[in-house]
Symmetry: C2
Subunit: 245 residues, 2 copies
């Protein structure tokens, strides 16, 4: 879908409630709004269907009210945590949606790589900043990242989440954590078998994931990095690469 | 070991740091102090080596200072989260240990079924109250449970953690959560293949665990119980029934 008006939100998928599989809200029932489009192209992106413009025909340009109605319907109108992810949800106009949902008692968490700052970050309940380590093939613009933090004005509960595949990523995570000592850190072992955007049933290397998880736990404890949380992607362990669960 | 003096702590094992595999502190590097002895006998207890008096020869009667030195050594004298579990750690004299550790910047989480209240609960950083559902074969004494909450004087971060095997357990969890609306709830699918106390290598029914986890996620979301967290035992997925990791 092209030609979205500026107030429209490009949506790749809305699904749930199911539990959050990652990071600080792990285990919490959540409705997921995955927006379409991203300013990054991480080598191991696990949401290509929400990133690659080849899939933009599947994205819908929706008004705030349309997105809100879908969230309310999925949750049976019972307030629930809403996860705004992507792609990069920061490139979508989500401020009105957050205000709309807050009025009904819903809460909002946003996950972004920290490349684009928005003033409505301050309205979030949870802000997950997920800078991309070297294995992604991306460069981090720390000035843009700092702007995200500034925009949030210390209002949301803000955490760092970093995917770690190897020693270089781990070193990057340590540097990022040292730069933002005030932020809780969540490390996540990388999945080198991310879902191809067009194959729901593609198999995952669960043993590889678990090995990387055990390695990362060992790395963190050896280093006495006792403030870092290490968590796998629970939904991948439970449901594989299947979408919409 | 018998004849422990009253100020001595009966210890089944001290190990770590490794990540906390369960509940509110999931993923956080932790040193575990598992005390010996329990006033309960849950049918599916996964810590029989710390409960059954057949194993009491393996328990050590240690002074506060001895336990403290072992924690400090394991953590390389770097402040870390310490988990006090058991058995029922509430029947041990742990108040001095908590004060000792706090002096060095360590934090303490205690997990107990809520049958025995101690004034030092108020000194904890995290109190995990884990009432036992019908499948355990135990009865909950809610007066004793209330006393635990009273003793904590709202000082620690306090949560409910409930193991769920079946519908009856689930109903129990809902009732307990309704009784303590102020407490965050963590539901954990039960492991019907807990470690036999004398066989480290005994196999676990991981698929059964995952099935129960998926069922529980479905149950919670169907019911729109959006405040409950559902989390598996991560250490079991990562390391099986092996002890000391
Ligand atoms: S920032 Fe996220 S959504 Fe965008 S390409 Fe990277 S992993 Fe994919
Ligand atoms: S209360 Fe805990 S340690 Fe005691 S028997 Fe039950 S499960 Fe085992």
């Amino acid at each position: 879908m092209t030609g979205a008006r500026s107030a429209e939100i490009r949506v790749s998928e809305i699904f749930g409630p199911t539990i959050q599989g990652e990071g600080v809200l792990i285990g919490l029932p959540t409705v997921f709004v995955r927006t379409g489009g991203c300013d990054f192209r991480c080598s191991w992106c696990d949401s290509l269907h929400a990133v690659d413009s080849r899939y933009r025909d599947e994205w819908r340009a929706m008004s705030t009210e349309e997105v809100w109605r879908e969230i309310a319907k999925l949750s049976g109108e019972e307030p629930v945590m809403v996860s705004l992810s992507g792609g990069n949800p920061a490139i979508q106009p989500l401020g009105d949606l957050i205000r709309r949902g807050h009025g009904e008692g819903y809460r909002f968490a946003l996950e972004t790589q920290g490349s684009v700052a928005r003033d409505w970050f301050a309205d979030l309940d949870v802000l997950v900043l997920s800078p991309k380590p070297p294995s992604s093939g991306m460069e981090t613009d720390w000035d843009a990242f700092d702007a995200c933090l500034r925009m949030s004005r210390d209002k949301p509960r803000t955490v760092l989440k970093i995917v770690v595949f190897d020693e270089a990523d781990y070193a990057y995570a340590k540097t990022a954590a040292a730069r933002y000592r005030q932020l809780p850190v969540y490390l996540q072992p990388g999945n080198h078998t991310p879902p191809p955007a067009d194959d729901d049933e593609a198999s995952i290397d669960i043993e590889g994931l678990m090995d990387r998880m055990r390695w990362l736990v060992g790395r963190v404890t050896e280093d006495k990095w006792f403030g870092a949380h290490v968590l796998p992607q629970l939904h991948v362990l439970l449901w594989g690469n299947k979408r919409g669960v």
